[in-house]
Symmetry: C2
Subunit: 404 residues, 2 copies
């Protein structure tokens, strides 16, 4: 008789954003007259930029002609895209990353969920708390996290690194030594960043203790301050301890188009074994490449027109971030984030729990946000709003919140 992977049964409830979607649908069904503004899930609202649309149409035309048709893509991505990534995102910044150290994928969510597969089940993970749920949940599925205590919402075998107002939302080096360290800066959900000097400390620490840093840089395009690193490979020694995950979702609006990449330097080894080889094997066996037309769209992100149009798109969202942050501050909320990230992190008022504030905000302002506790125990009492709505909706949401 077959048996299931019973690690799945340890997962408490459903994926955070599925729960939010269900709650919003229920509210909307019961209140069809109310217009709900969604500043919850980090989904973008601006259309794809003209340079990207043009690249897509042109690639579709290629697929219509046998002479230019593209079948299976190279396992690790087309050269044209890997070269553009290596040059623009790394070499032009003075970082030593070659195009064959880049693995093109269908997005950073998949990569951040799949990357743990190449590591031993015995490895111990460290995560920021609060944190993007995929890191922990996929390790639960793999059987790496021990047992769950529903009271404290803590897994017995996970090292939590609290990020709260007390430490300015920057994790401190853990007391217990981890094998895998998940870091995400600019941070989801807090919108916080760390400086290059601070990140260098993490790289030095990982090299010292023999840990791998899985660095999620999905929000890199939103960095506005000078001393915030755009990639972990700005740090000396990162080539022997870091894997970087990047997304096209937030800098180019690809949430529904799906493209991302992972960088694994060839110097990152366990004994003689390059992690690069393991990921190449996984990619070649369990994945079959991103669509040609989407990879061509990704290439357009790096064209002169693409860069200009996307800078304007990022500026549009950051204007929203400013609107939210300043509006909430005016309304008396304690807020952070929103300067180098499209996320605003606020303290819930009147000692409400995160989910109480979710319900309160939905009920009284018809605005959807994300409960901080959904990202981990230290997120309790916090709440996330995103800058990815339209400007009009963002302004309207803030007016409603101020009136609450």
């Amino acid at each position: 008789m077959f048996k299931i992977n019973d690690n799945y049964l340890k997962l408490p409830g459903s994926y955070l954003f599925s729960t939010i979607a269900r709650k919003v649908n229920e509210f909307q069904a019961a209140n069809s007259d109310k217009s709900v503004i969604r500043l919850g899930i980090g989904d973008v609202t601006q259309p794809l930029a003209p340079a990207i649309i043009q690249a897509l149409h042109s690639a579709v035309d290629e697929m219509a002609d046998a002479a230019t048709f593209h079948g299976y893509a190279p396992d690790l991505g087309y050269e044209f895209l890997r070269n553009a990534i290596a040059k623009n995102d790394y070499q032009d910044r003075g970082c030593e990353i070659a195009s064959d150290e880049i693995f093109v994928s269908d997005g950073a969510k998949c990569d951040s969920g799949n990357i743990q597969e190449i590591f031993s089940v015995d490895n111990k993970i460290a995560v920021c708390d609060p944190v993007y749920p995929v890191y922990v949940d996929t390790n639960v599925m793999a059987g790496r996290t021990g047992t769950y205590d529903p009271k404290t919402e803590v897994w017995s075998d996970v090292i939590y690194m609290p990020c709260t107002a007390e430490n300015n939302f920057a994790p401190q080096l853990p007391k217990e030594t981890p094998d895998l360290i998940y870091l995400c800066f600019p941070n989801n959900p807090t919108g916080a960043t760390i400086t290059k000097t601070q990140l260098q400390e993490w790289v030095d620490y990982a090299n010292k203790v023999g840990a791998v840093i899985i660095y999620d840089a999905a929000y890199e395009a939103y960095i506005s301050e000078d001393d915030v690193p755009h990639t972990i490979f700005e740090c000396a020694g990162a080539r022997t301890c870091a894997i970087e995950l990047k997304s096209f979702s937030k800098n180019a609006g690809f949430t529904g188009t799906r493209l991302g990449y992972t960088v694994i330097p060839k110097d990152l080894k366990c004994g003689d074994v390059m992690l690069h080889s393991l990921w190449a094997r996984r990619h070649g066996t369990k994945y079959n490449g991103a669509p040609y037309i989407v990879q061509k769209a990704g290439e357009a992100v790096y064209s002169a027109e693409g860069k200009e149009q996307l800078a304007a798109q990022v500026a549009y969202y950051m204007k929203n971030a400013k609107t939210i942050k300043e509006g909430l501050a005016e309304a008396g909320y304690t807020v952070s984030g929103g300067v180098n990230a499209p996320y605003i992190w606020l303290k819930t008022p009147d000692k409400m729990t995160s989910w109480e504030f979710f319900d309160y905000l939905l009920e009284h302002a018809n605005v959807v946000g994300t409960p901080g506790s959904g990202f981990g125990p230290s997120g309790e009492g916090y709440f996330r709003l995103t800058a990815f709505g339209t400007y009009e909706n963002t302004v309207a949401a803030l007016e409603r919140i101020k009136k609450m």
Copy 2:
């Protein structure tokens, strides 16, 4: 100190098709004057059909306008596509499959590699031999296959079901009871099929012993004979024991466009737990949906124009299959397949091993095929040619082979 998943180190050599690609590249580099014809990897050559191209352009236009832009797709796929699949591929055939039992993905290779994750590591798998390498390799990575004997090319904990000329390439019920049974019909690589009565025996067996059949129906569109089932859900009782994998790669030329789906009936349970829930959780956590534009392309596959154009495309490839099969038979080869599948399976001449014949064919006819032994020990002494080339190349390849 972090550790790797050392199951990866057990994998012998590289993924089959990567090895072939390397060998062909080396030959081409050393013989730049020779024109190589590739009838090896199952990649298509015909361009996307006009109905699909039109759907893609139209979806790209939608992505250019904020009013019709699409961000994150629903976890399990858009309703429009799931409804089209449920109706056309199941309900119209009298099979009871609902649209919410369909999980849209970026292809059957990924699904066939990922599906084992929802099962216990203790489960024992049974595979046809020869077989599509992804089934075994992904179970190796998960630690489910025991140890590898390089001499016999056999994994200690895998149940092999030989499919050779002796049993007409149809597997027999295994002596040892498996937990997970991988079946693929029409078969890759042999091109063989089994009748509905034969498949019903498998379904009855699986229900009796408490096994799950993972049924890969990627080549369903090539079925030309009446008594060959188009889906395992034609069989009574399949809803309690079967998962079906489907691809858009072979019926619609999506090898470089990436779309597939998995069917998990809600009646398929381990105790109280629906496998449907586990896969939904995996999909929601480790995957983020197929691109909107690609799902719209998938919808066009089911339009009246799409169906007509794709029937012509399948007929084109099946004309190639006939050309290969008849040509090889004329040249004295023992051949099978090619009637309900785009694959022709031939016995290597003069007791050559599969790789010897690969080299011989590449050297003397400059034709690339796939060594049968790459698909498993019982594939030794066989060779696969695919019908996915152009008609001109197929005819030319056969002329060269006849002259050898």
